[in-house]
Amino acid sequence: MPQPNAKTDQEAAAPAAVATKPGAIELTINGELFLHTGAPDMPLLWYLRDVLRLTGSKYGCGVGQCGACTVHVEGKAQRSCLLPVSALAGQSITTIEGIGAADDLHAVQQAWMEEDVPQCGYCQAGQIMAAVDLLKRKAQPSDADIAQLTNICRCGTYPRIRKAVRRAAQLLATSTNPAGAKS
């Protein structure tokens, strides 16, 4: 059921418009409720980008091969270019914009900065979302665990990603600040 305080596509794009529509798809993104009233088969990636203007999730291939579009659905890493919004009704999604804030970074974002990982930076939102997911599953990942990160980085930042994942694991292990436990 559409909630009274949820935002429709039109409202999200241009606040202060439009009442709710029947057949709208309801989904929670970074803790906020949205109603999608457009094409139900629209992949989440394009909904995030073109409708909500949450542009942190990137297009790299559109067919699930590169990971640039990685988000969390119900806390698990998923490639949003392959997920039609209709399949996500009622689910909770976290994007790079929802994982931590500039003044309250997630440990993985913090580690990414400390290791100076980004080159062009385009793949890095997806890399971070994949790493957050990995660290939830494996608090102290082995080399082989890290090698399971299959996101492509065309700039070749993999060695620094490795270091940053280890640093993030340490930060999370020693953190008294619960920021790292978010998402």
Partner: protein, 748 residues
């Protein structure tokens, strides 16, 4: 920006020749703001085109380059901050737009060189941007001198403050208004000496990393514009083919699709400064509707003049071509005579495929064209080229075209071409609305300007002491100057065979010749262009010579390089090539990998070195091959790029260059079949992933006082030969054809 522009009442600029240009705007003394400065917006004041100082003494520095991941948004402002004596920790960097304008002496760029190509940003910035910072500092010093009634030379600067002899510290912010009213000095200001550096040579992290890790950094495809339609295009899969017929009935039924029309390709055989391929445009309200609309199109194509082209035929063409005389690129002595006199002659053929750039962010463009002006937003490597393309296609004067470069999701040379800009302009004109053009990954892989395909035939003649007496390098390749304007003026072999590359000038008989192959495949510049395949052929061959003559492969190279001296080098990166600097990186690399130690357990070590665009690099790898599984146990990159501006940035470029080199050498090739590019996704163009990569790249930077070279490209050419040499050491299988893995599997 307009509020800020109004306050740029002085402009401090250096001409290309190094002269200081002063007073392009009304001088400060004559400046009478009609509105008090505080009311013009944020409390800040500008000092020349690159520097603003906010009331809280935070210094804002403009970054003029195209940031494609090579770090110029960090390293170029560092040059200004150094001479300005700014507190780097509190500097904020902002991207500058393209600076074309009409000055008193005609067209000029108020920011100087802005393109990204050939690893030139740092060498260019070294020449002018330090002076920008020094002049801004001079103005602040002069303002303080006036304020305190003291001569300038009694004052010092430190961390964004001017220091009075009694120790009083005055923040720059308190001086900037007065400073902006002072005429800049008529002559260049003296620059710091290296022992005074506080920013240059110190590791600096990416200035906008916070925006990147929080998803806030705006790349080109993150730009939107009210009223803009999204365009995607179905391009003709046949090289230089065209649209025969279109059935768009299903496309037009899709909600959100606004229009469908054909876009012609470039005129056959003409120089190419428009779009690259004919096709059908789908205009829609959003990307998804446009992509769905495209998928629903039914188009039949005319195949065009290259319908028969294939990779196999190109190979045959190369074999045939190499029987001819070719075009002499550099010939010295007499290789034929050397061959007759030789105790031994060795020959080998190496083959390199076409490569796509596969920038992580595919080409795209956002453009709005109005009767009297245009606005472009997107990722570029050549904003001047984009400006020319837009002017050509719209008839607008270039100063009426605003170009905002965004952070680019990679470049690698792809964005030196502005075909996608042209495409967007053509579509926007036809649509009569602003347009955001999106390319999908398969568009990108199938419609690129590929690194040239080539076959390299190498010959070495040896005397009875196994000394090299002659060297032949025949290169049959698809020339890189593909339909360039003015390509007739370009040297034969440009972008394929460099006359002065190693070992030219180091032995008496040299014969380098080029053979141009005919192909419909578009070609262009790919990161460290010809050096990637040049180094593969030459540095693999040197290793083969060492093996065949039972010499040490490092000692053989060092003997060839001889004593340290400078040789002429006419190509980009010259005018000199220093044999001593190449020998030094090679020697250091050999030490680091413990070259002399014999490996057991199936491991092999390979090494290679190369000179690229003013930088000297060596790579060494330790590998093993287990069944079909290649493992890289150690990766070492030694680099000498002269004085290093940002060591953390150079380390990133060498690490990234090495990984790019490995990924490309192991896996990547673009092939052609029946006049069409075969590869269309990361499935068949398998850019390397974490699991294939060494855990670490050990980067060693040689400390140097020489003028800085760039760093974007030097880290890649010696990778492929070092890897192939290591594989030989581990397996005694010689890989002479890239990419390595399919070839290794064929040979094993």
């Amino acid at each position: 920006m307009s509020g800020i522009n109004r306050r740029q009442f002085i402009s401090v600029m250096l001409s290309a020749g190094g002269a200081l240009i002063v007073g392009m705007r009304a001088a400060g003394a004559a400046f009478k703001p009609t509105v008090p400065i505080d009311m013009l917006g944020e409390p800040l004041t500008s000092l020349g085109a690159f520097v603003r100082i906010e009331r809280n003494n935070r210094i804002v520095i403009g970054a003029r380059g195209c940031e494609i991941g090579q770090g110029v948004m960090t390293s170029l402002p560092m040059l200004i901050a150094e001479e300005l004596d700014a507190d780097w920790a509190r500097v904020r960097v902002e991207q500058l737009p393209y600076g074309y304008e009409i000055g008193p002496d005609g067209p000029t760029n108020r920011y100087g060189a802005q393109g990204a190509g050939g690893s030139t940003s740092i060498p260019d910035g070294w020449k002018d941007l330090r002076q920008v910072g020094a002049v801004a500092r001079w103005l602040l010093l002069e303002a303080a001198a006036q304020h305190w009634q003291l001569p300038q030379d009694r004052l010092k600067t430190e961390s964004s403050h001017v220091l009075h002899p009694d120790g009083t510290r005055m923040p720059y912010a308190e001086l900037v208004e007065r400073a902006a009213a002072i005429l800049p000095p008529a002559e260049a200001v003296a620059l710091k000496t290296p022992e005074q550096y506080r920013v240059i040579g110190k590791p600096a992290r990416t200035v906008d990393a916070l925006a990147i890790v929080t998803g806030k950094a705006a790349f080109g495809i993150d730009s939107y514009m009210g009223g803009a339609l999204t365009a995607v295009m179905l391009r003709c899969p046949y090289l230089d083919g065209s649209v025969d017929s279109i059935d768009d009935s299903d496309t037009r039924k899709i909600a959100g699709v606004r229009d469908v029309f054909a876009l012609p390709g470039p005129v056959l055989g003409s120089s190419l400064d428009t779009n690259l391929a004919a096709g059908v445009v789908v205009l829609a309200d959003n990307t998804w509707a446009a992509l769905k609309g495209r998928a629903a199109l039914k188009v039949s194509w005319k195949q065009g003049p290259w319908a028969e082209e294939s990779s196999a035929k190109l190979e045959a063409q190369a074999t045939e071509a190499l029987k001819g005389a070719g075009i002499a690129v550099r010939v010295e002595g007499d290789l034929d005579k050397a061959r007759k006199a030789a105790k031994r002659t060795l020959e080998a053929k190496y083959q390199v495929p076409f490569l796509a750039h596969a920038t992580m962010e595919p080409p795209h463009a956002l453009i709005k064209i109005e009767p009297d002006r245009a606005l472009f937003i997107g990722a570029l490597q050549s904003p001047s080229g984009a400006s020319r393309v837009i002017a050509d296609l719209t008839g607008l004067a270039r100063e009426k075209i605003e170009i905002r470069m965004t952070r680019a999701g990679g470049g690698f040379g792809r964005r030196l071409k502005n075909d996608y800009v042209a495409e967007a302009v053509m579509i926007a004109k036809k649509a009569g609305a602003p347009v955001k053009l999106m390319w999908s990954r398969d568009d990108d892989l199938r419609h690129d300007f590929y690194r040239p395909f080539g076959v390299h035939q190498l010959t070495a003649t040896l005397d009875k002491k196994n000394q090299l007496t002659g060297f032949g390098h025949l290169c049959a390749a698809t020339p890189v100057n593909y339909r360039n304007a003015g390509m007739k003026d370009e040297a034969a072999g440009i972008g394929c065979l460099e006359p002065d590359d190693f070992p030219a000038g180091l032995l008496p008989n040299l014969d380098k010749r080029f053979f141009a192959l005919e192909s419909g495949m578009p070609r262009g510049w790919w990161r460290a262009p010809l050096h990637t395949f040049h180094a593969f052929a030459v540095q693999s061959f040197i290793d083969e010579i060492a093996v065949e003559t039972k010499q040490d492969a490092v000692a053989l190279r060092l003997a060839l390089l001889g004593e340290a001296r400078e040789l002429d080098y006419k190509g980009h990166g010259g005018p000199k090539f220093d044999t001593g600097r190449l020998a030094a990186v090679l020697t250091r690399c050999a030490e680091a990998i413990d070259w002399k130690r014999k490996r057991s357990d199936g491991r092999g070590v390979g090494i290679a070195c190369h000179f690229t665009f003013g930088g000297y690099a060596a790579h060494a790898f330790e590998v093993s091959v287990d069944g079909r599984d290649l493992r890289i146990h150690r990766a070492i990159c030694v680099i000498d790029v002269g004085r290093v501006v940002n060591p953390l940035g150079v380390d990133a470029m060498m690490m990234g260059g090495t990984i790019d080199g490995i990924s490309t050498a192991l896996n990547l090739a673009i092939t052609v079949k029946e006049g069409q590019v075969v590869q269309g996704s990361f499935g068949d163009y398998a850019v390397g992933r974490m699991a294939q990569m060494p855990h670490e790249v050990e980067v060693i930077q040689i400390a140097s006082e020489k003028e800085p070279a760039g760093a974007g490209e030097m880290g890649i050419p010696s990778v492929a030969p070092a890897l192939a040499n290591a594989i030989y050491a581990a397996t005694t299988v010689r890989v002479r054809r890239l990419p390595i893995l399919p070839e290794l599997n064929r040979l094993l």
